[in-house]
Symmetry: C2
DNA sequence: AGTTCTTTCGAAATCGTTTTCGATCCCATC
DNA sequence: GATGGGATCGAAAACGATTTCGAAAGAACT
């Protein structure tokens, strides 16, 4: 019932708490016999150190915080998987919070994590995040911060991401190489860098291949919890631009919404309209027709971001100044039936 | 840079730490003027209490631990969503660990959480969990434990689940009512209660409707990370039992594997073979043909389990003995094209 | 003037661990 | 016999907040 402490062991052996502590940590100034006796009693009483006390004393919690828009998302759940895996390997625990794409929640959660005295923070910013005092607060407290996926360039910290512009450029170039000319883009929210980058990639690819960019072919999708946006925009697209021959979608989710609309209305994919997604969600391989998309290394992103964070935490402990890294992970096109 | 402590405020005002602490907590034995001055300085210095110290003193961490098989799973990610939401509402943080369906990891993680002195633990057991000393250890430490989804009846703690047997019974009965007679079952791992319950529901439904149970129509799927099992078992099924007219699958994932095989081999769904899934994953609505399945209230399960846990934690604090609940959440059939 | 009560504050213990800095003792050395 | 040095241990401070209990001072009452 009662949890055993150092004092219990000390009392049992008639020695001091200090010696018990040192014995358990294998200090050189403790007699071998004493060490063994301590170890024996510790095992007998099932001792395990009270982390709260350890944390208070060492000013470390061996815990990192993660703030993401949502966990219910194939991409993020794979990132989390990578984060937890890597953190646990190095003896760290992970606290996860969701901003639900709301700035005020994101700010609140940063404070929660700072109060909790986490050793470091991993963040993928919400789509609405357009000010960064909360991030600067983290840095001013000298707590390592690593941004991934949805990053903010102006913040001086390590970042892990993909080259969204390049990936989009490659995707659209592929469409062009296959003879598609009237290419629509279902773009994401106007605020986050990743959706702007993908949009830029789309536009540049068009222009580099002699296709003039037509803003009327760009549709906005700012709901990223379901495929409704893709569905309704597909409907609008066909009505407004019947001569369109392909779509480059910001996300598989959006692409699948479009596919759903096309399937229901007897519009043939890819013959009438080709569809290109982004992220390679699990479902993109099971949807019909299977979705051509861009593979994003989600799990790896979690692992790498955590590696960097834990490394900065270690350097921090030794008061070594650390140079922030910006890692760009490779993407690749996954060619399936929809193009 | 430096984080302010009670002592800093006390020094600034030339009063004692004790008074500052009491002023901030609005104790009645502090002068109004002093309270205001303290509050003012606290705001000025941006004071927020060091949770580590608070935790050590109060023996509470305001943190709960969650152990699940994996986060990369639509069902579990929705459960997590519910857990985090409910926990945050009540001021608790959530540490998530993954057992990856391994018993030894599950045990290890229980210890991690106990060492971390979490206030309570939520668990969905791994498929391999066939001994329960680690759960009993949690209970013997008097730390509230709530099991959800994959539960163990013999452990005396609160539980939140669905009635798997009933849901399966309803699903299979529906198939029978639609005229299907040769119904195969792609069952789950032999160990977990949920897969046995679903199997029992399948068998009982058959027998209650005058169809004799045929073990050769039951196929084992023990890999739950991809749809490979569904795919290969579908192939085997058609070879071994060509006259089969429908499948009741333990999971949407398995069902989708089967659908994939049938689609690739020009076997018509539902005309040649109908497919019934379980869980109502997001993708089951986008796959083609759309999958008929059982809706499982994942988010609600997370919320309810957390509510119960936090309630037990509160009761625990007041040393009130608590009666363990077993909540069974309702499921419903989602009828789509695959049947 | 003596007693009681109220108001306001702070000293000190406590949570459990870590770590520094002596203290003590014993043995070897000159 | 004095000195130095290693081996072994423990007292005590520290981490930062909470809370009990008593002190002090003044007000209010007999």
């Amino acid at each position: 019932m009662k949890v055993t402490t150092l004092k219990d062991i000390a009392n049992e052996l008639g020695i001091s708490v200090a010696t018990v502590s040192k014995a358990l940590k294998d200090y050189p100034d403790v007699n071998k016999d004493t060490k063994e006796k301590v170890l024996q009693i510790a095992r007998k009483l099932n001792y395990s150190p009270n982390q709260l006390a350890v944390n208070l004393r060492t000013k470390q919690t061996k815990t990192i915080g993660v703030i993401i828009p949502t966990t219910v998302h194939h991409f993020f759940s794979k990132v989390i998987d990578g984060i937890i895996e890597e953190a646990e390997k190095k003896g760290y625990l992970v606290i996860i919070l969701q901003s639900s794409e709301k700035l005020f929640l994101e700010k609140l959660q940063v404070n929660l994590l700072l109060d909790k005295r986490v050793d470091g923070i991993l963040m993928s910013l919400s789509n609405k995040t357009n000010e960064f005092v909360h991030l600067k607060k983290v840095l001013s407290r000298n707590i390592p911060l690593v941004l991934f996926d949805k990053i903010e360039p102006s913040i001086s910290c390590s970042k892990v991401r993909i080259d969204d512009k390049k990936a989009a450029y490659e995707a659209v170039s592929y469409l062009i190489s296959k003879g598609y000319k009237k290419i629509s883009h279902f773009r994401g929210d106007l605020n986050p860098k990743i959706s702007n980058d993908r949009f830029e990639g789309y536009r540049e690819a068009l222009e580099d291949h002699g296709i003039t960019y037509d803003p009327s072919l760009v549709y906005l999708c700012n709901n990223n919890t379901d495929f409704e946006d893709g569905y309704t925009n597909a409907k609008k697209l066909i009505r407004e631009n019947p001569e369109v021959d392909s779509i480059f979608a910001i996300t598989d989710l959006v692409a699948i919404g479009a596919i759903k609309y096309f399937n229901e209305n007897n519009i043939k994919i890819p013959d009438d309209v080709a569809v290109f997604g982004f992220s390679n969600w699990f479902m993109s391989s099971v949807v019909s027709p299977a979705l051509t998309t861009v593979h994003q290394p989600a799990h790896q992103m979690g692992v790498v971001a955590t590696e960097i964070l834990l490394n900065e935490i270690e350097l921090n402990k030794e008061n070594t100044p650390c140079i922030h890294k910006e890692v760009i992970l490779p993407t690749k096109l996954i060619l399936r039936e929809s193009c």
